[in-house]
């Protein structure tokens, strides 16, 4: 008997009632979860959407009591933002972000390498020490930091922010990169050693290409944290070294809140991070899921 004739004789297959019931229940559950997911997503995204929409309104339109959804968009607030001296702030932010991120990567990579691939007895203690530095609220340390910066004549100096952002991101970077380094099979290191590669070339030619997505993810996180950092910037800078978040605060003045201008400035401030995130998206997803998938 051929397979076809067997199938033909078997007739239509009716699933067992329990089976269809279970499937219905599962579909119902996933629908509920889907709705909840969308609602939560929209709630998170709404402030961003509101910010972008408001940035295209005039101040008068931004203040209407029932917020208008339909309006004639204008770039006038963007023009105001760009003409009110944004660029020095962007330059400061970019400098502090890029230099501190490079410093963090240069310092964290060997540290994470040692803590993951060449562990010693006290490795766990060292790791705990790193993360413990993040347990202290920044506000608790601001006075000694301020006094130190003042006495070293480093107030309103962009290098102060570079140092602080490096210190701020280093523990997270070490932890993140360590988890990526842990995924590197030990045999790769041994193979490189057997092939006669000294440590530096092993790291550069064998290890770093493997952990590149992780390094990219770490760099992006550091960039985001540094770019958005506000507390140190507002307390330790004034005019010369102020960064974009400080510039944004300028729109909250004693005469009132300039909603549309603030929204336009905030949109501009957000763009670089979104851009970097979008460019690094593939690497980032690989990097952030690196530890989960072998």
């Amino acid at each position: 008997m051929s397979a076809d004739s067997m199938t033909a004789q078997a007739g239509p297959v009716t699933p067992a009632p329990e089976y269809t019931g279970a499937r219905k229940k599962r579909r119902h559950n996933s629908l509920t979860l889907g709705i909840v997911g969308w609602v939560v997503g929209i709630l998170f995204f709404f402030p961003v959407l509101w910010m972008v929409i408001t940035s295209f309104k005039t101040e008068a339109q931004a203040y209407t009591n029932t917020p208008r959804v339909i309006f004639s968009p204008t770039l006038s607030e963007y023009k105001t933002v760009f003409s009110s001296g944004l660029w020095p702030y962007v330059a400061n932010s970019a400098f502090a972000t890029i230099v501190s991120t490079i410093l963090v990567l240069v310092l964290a990579a060997p540290c994470a390498f040692a803590l993951s691939l060449r562990p010693v007895k006290k490795t766990r203690d060292v790791l705990f020490f790193f993360i413990s530095t993040k347990m202290l609220p920044v506000v608790a340390a601001i006075i000694p930091i301020y006094i130190a910066a003042r006495d070293l004549h480093l107030l309103d100096n962009i290098f102060t922010l570079v140092i602080l952002y490096t210190a701020m991101n280093l523990p997270i970077a070490v932890w993140m990169m360590r988890s990526f380094f842990l995924e590197v099979p030990g045999e790769l290191l041994e193979a490189a050693e057997m092939d006669g590669a000294p440590l530096r070339r092993t790291v550069v030619e064998v290890i770093l290409p493997v952990v590149a997505p992780g390094v990219a993810a770490t760099a992006l996180i550091c960039c985001i944290f540094s770019w958005n950092e506000f507390f140190f910037a507002v307390n330790l800078t004034a005019t010369r070294a102020a960064t974009v978040p400080v510039f944004l605060v300028g729109f909250i003045s004693s005469e009132g809140l300039y909603f549309a201008q603030l929204a336009a400035a905030a949109t501009v401030a957000t763009l670089p991070v979104i851009l970097i995130g979008w460019v690094a998206q593939r690497q980032l997803v690989r990097g952030l899921s690196f530890g989960a998938i072998k």
């Binding site: 099979p185 045999e187 790769l188 041994e190 193979a191 490189a192 050693e193 057997m194 092939d195 006669g196 590669a197 000294p198 070339r201 030619e205 064998v206 290409p209 493997v210 590149a212």
Partner: protein, 358 residues
Amino acid sequence: MAEVSYEQATCIYPGAERPAVSALDLAIRDGEFVVMVGPSGCGKTTALRMLAGLEEIDEGSIRIDGKDMVGVPSRERDIAMVFQNYALYPSKTVGENMGFALKMQGVAKGERAGRVREAAKLLDLQDFLDRKPRNLSGGQRQRVAMGRAIVREPKVFCMDEPLSNLDAQLRVQTRTQIAELQRRLAVTTVYVTHDQVEAMTMGDRVAVMRLGQLQQFASPTELYDKPDNVFVASFIGSPAMNRFDGTLENGGIRAGGALLRPSDQQLHAAQGHGKLVVGIRPEHLSVGGGGELTLKVALVEDLGSDSFIYGSLADDPDSNIIVRSGRDHPRPGEVIKVGVDTAQLHLFDAGTGRRIGG
């Protein structure tokens, strides 16, 4: 090419109860293919890694061409290693993987490419030189790992279970290729496996290890015919050697409910040993024959060309006896008479496990 010798080489992992490798003595000849075999945790891989410089030598020494390797880093030993999981560099192409060691040695790009091509040709990898390892099958990756080792023309090859990730058919095929390649290149090779068939078919000599200690180092034939102790006797050979408890009695040995009469030389050697372990390989038992043993058949494995009969002695239901038989074999449940070729008996001291007689 080189001579390799382990001299009382010992490796102790921190916190371990016993040495991973204990006072290992091995003298490996130039160009020889030596296989280290044993069950998991026997120290075979550690012994190999000690030679490669990936584990410390805590006591004793390992010499390559007479030069003591204690304290010499791996990269200065001129040893190539094939890892169990191949350890190919994922970001490099096949060609770059194979040429990496030469690059580290400072070999010029042109010469490097030539040598890589030559090795690739030998391993039938010419068409894959530009591919990344992730785009290769398991067998191809294994060949790349081999290629990475041979392109260097090292003094010694170390291979750590390089076939364990391949399917059964490919394993048999690659086994032959590796053995043939090694004979052609004549590079001293130390090969680690837990598969005794690999050990027996590939090695010029085989080192059987257990609990960090060398049990016997001999040719495959000698291991099979004259195992030094009960462990080697039971580990080498598939199915394993049959073993019975035995005692000297009336000019013979009482074992398995029968009085067996080994050679005079064996009987003489067994005097004063008290309790014995008597061993006999499945092919040296025969259905019918002298009929010394009575066997209740439990299971028959028909392999086509011949068959293995599994059962227990009629007066000892806990015993496990295996008999090799032809295509005509009894059915499970039958009680049969089994003859013993007493010229092929192996005698061991029950206390020490050591072989008695020649």
